[in-house]
Symmetry: C2
């Protein structure tokens, strides 16, 4: 991510500390709260198995209530924890609401970590209580507090010339192939959103957080939340610069997740165009982005394009290999690997050099129709196996 | 695979040699031929991108012609090789037909190896010619000749008390998640098949070769062929012992492929029952069997059942986690990990011990309906990345 200044949107406060969920002395609990009530947009995992905080937050967001705070813990997903898990979530919200003398249904709850282990509530409640005695922390502390296997915090912040600020944090790394939402992300702004802009938020998330793949596993806890408290008194709609600025924040956070994918060494954009439908283009892009053979070839910087065409072929989409063309792209450089059903002569060393760089693109033109789709993915390395083969990560 | 005697079905001959496609001095070309014409059943990959020999064989099988021989090469898939690839396939068939003074359309062709590289036809044709001067080889030579990343040959043979023999060879290892067929396998018998039995063959393949997953990548070359020459003069139908015997051969070959999956250290049966439909049960079994997070947990012998429930949850099938039950099974041992939506207390050391053994089962009961499905998968290890990250495997 680019070096940047992190500004806090007006009226928001952040607290973070170590309450004991992570084994080392790292922050594992964060509260973000707003001095005044916020408009909310949120998207959640479409996994049939939803963690307790997801079920809890969905109730609040669907009821259209204003929200004041988000409490987040890492180290424990509070998923598959039954009715006790729901009670624990509610207790987290209640305890957090005492920090600003509000009510539990003004608090959203996010959890991430291992599935199926009861939350150690004494640690959590003591931690939330201690937040009240903290001076406001930096956003970076909160971004660190929600990390699990992430190797660095993910944060993005833009202060607009129009007078508002957007700052967001995210965590990702593994179990990343969101469908309706993604991993954990909380984005706060002091802008006042028009209802039109609020309804556009999901569209932006479909273009950013919903376009990333690390390992094809969709989490039980995926959640992204936008809180807008309007304290800047700048009203924003989809026609102003907010749409662009918010897209940029989400893009930075989504890309940061893929770049820090478990064991990842490079970010690859998979672009499919010329499809008969966007659904077909998406199926093919996702098949390539998820294929272990493509991802290990990305890791080994091996221009073994047969694996890519092969993945396109089993994606259950309509196309003729005889028409298709496959390119490697980086900046202005284009290398055609495959053309009209067969190998194209290309400079092997050049292709390897492109694939050895940190970021590049695979571009598949099906020459069938006018639809396209792209997605960001990473490579699959030994380190992914080390991280996930270890007992109870 | 059990230690066994390899008998050749009557009237079949086998030849195998090194023609130069594999870099080392290993067999890479095999011919299996029958003294008399054979009844044929075959199934092919449903990948949209089909290798030239798949397209060629499909024409012959669909025309219902009798077949005399199969020629197989390893080291080159002859896939994505355009019209030249089709010509090469036909030339391989022609050259092979000269060995027994037959015609090209009596020969099926199988290829496996790297995609998109033209077949070195001089090597292939010289190799096929040299086959004519060989004395009949053992089936083991042929099984070795079709290996790519396989670490050992896959062969199964049963001589029935009814007076016929079935012997089959297979190769697998990577790019294994067949849908309509699978990798390469040639199974020969001297039984005479009734038309009723011939139509049952696909059913058996659906229960064996179509129930294996190594990495979720479906090949461009998957093919399984049954040749029956009737030389034993034993006529067999689905009601006799042939159905069982043939199932056993296919089971042994299919399991051998998973056990020798690239980098695999264990074979895991994923069983799903109590689903509303078989399609739902299959979706969930395949999601678990393909999930990198489940497969790395299998590798690390980590009873992290949350990953399994999570994969079930994103499989796009209908079920309620609150009803589901998840067990680890090995022989008579059963360990309940998850029950009615939450963790079950279990002996961690016992669960780890089960998962450290070479073969065990995951059993998920959804308690929704009466449908079930099972599939064989393997773990995902560092070695998979080493094998596939290397340049041009």
């Amino acid at each position: 991510m680019r070096k940047q200044i992190i500004n806090s949107p007006k009226g928001f406060q952040v607290a973070a500390l170590h309450c004991g969920l992570k084994s080392e002395n790292q922050n594992d609990l964060a509260v973000i709260y707003s001095e005044s009530p916020c408009q909310v947009a949120a998207a959640f995992t479409s996994n049939k198995v939803k963690a307790a905080p997801v079920l809890y937050d969905q109730q609040i967001v669907r009821a259209g209530k204003a929200v004041r705070a988000v409490v987040v813990n890492a180290g424990n997903a509070n998923a598959c924890t039954g009715s006790e898990g729901m009670q624990h979530t509610r207790k987290m919200a209640e305890a957090t609401s005492h920090l600003f003398a509000g009510s539990a249904d003004e608090v959203l709850v996010l959890s991430t970590g291992v599935i199926g282990v009861p939350l150690p509530m004494e640690l959590i409640l003591a931690g939330i209580k201690a937040m009240g005695e903290l001076t406001p922390q930096t956003w970076l502390d909160a971004a660190q507090a929600i990390m699990t296997t992430d190797t660095h915090p993910k944060i993005a912040s833009i202060q607009s010339h129009s007078g508002y600020t957007i700052t967001g944090i995210a965590k990702g790394s593994g179990m990343i192939s969101p469908k309706m939402a993604t991993m954990l992300s909380v984005i706060c702004t002091d802008a006042a959103l028009t209802s039109e802009m609020l309804s556009k938020v999901q569209e932006i998330w479909n273009q950013t957080f919903n376009r990333i793949v690390v390992d094809g596993d969709m989490s039980t806890n995926d959640t992204v939340i936008l809180l807008a408290n309007g304290v800047s008194e700048v009203e924003v709609g989809p026609d102003g610069d907010f749409y662009q600025t918010f897209s940029q924040i989400c893009t930075e956070l989504a890309r940061a997740i893929v770049k820090d994918g478990e064991g990842a060494t490079k970010l690859v954009t998979v672009s499919v165009k010329g499809a008969n439908s966007q659904i077909d283009a998406e199926k093919i892009a996702r098949a390539i982005a998820t294929s272990p053979l493509c991802k290990t070839a990305f890791y080994g910087a091996d221009p073994n394009w047969g694996r890519i065409i092969c993945a396109a072929g089993y994606a259950d989409a309509d196309f003729s290999p005889e028409k298709a063309s496959l390119k490697l792209k980086k900046d202005d450089q284009k290398i055609i690997l495959f053309e009209s059903g067969q190998a194209e002569l290309y400079n092997e060393a050049e292709a390897i050099a492109v694939m050895q760089s940190e970021e590049w693109e695979i571009s598949l033109d099906l020459r069938q129709g006018r639809s396209s789709y792209w997605i960001w993915t990473c490579d699959l390395s030994h380190e992914y196996i080390t991280i996930n083969g270890h007992y109870r990560t």
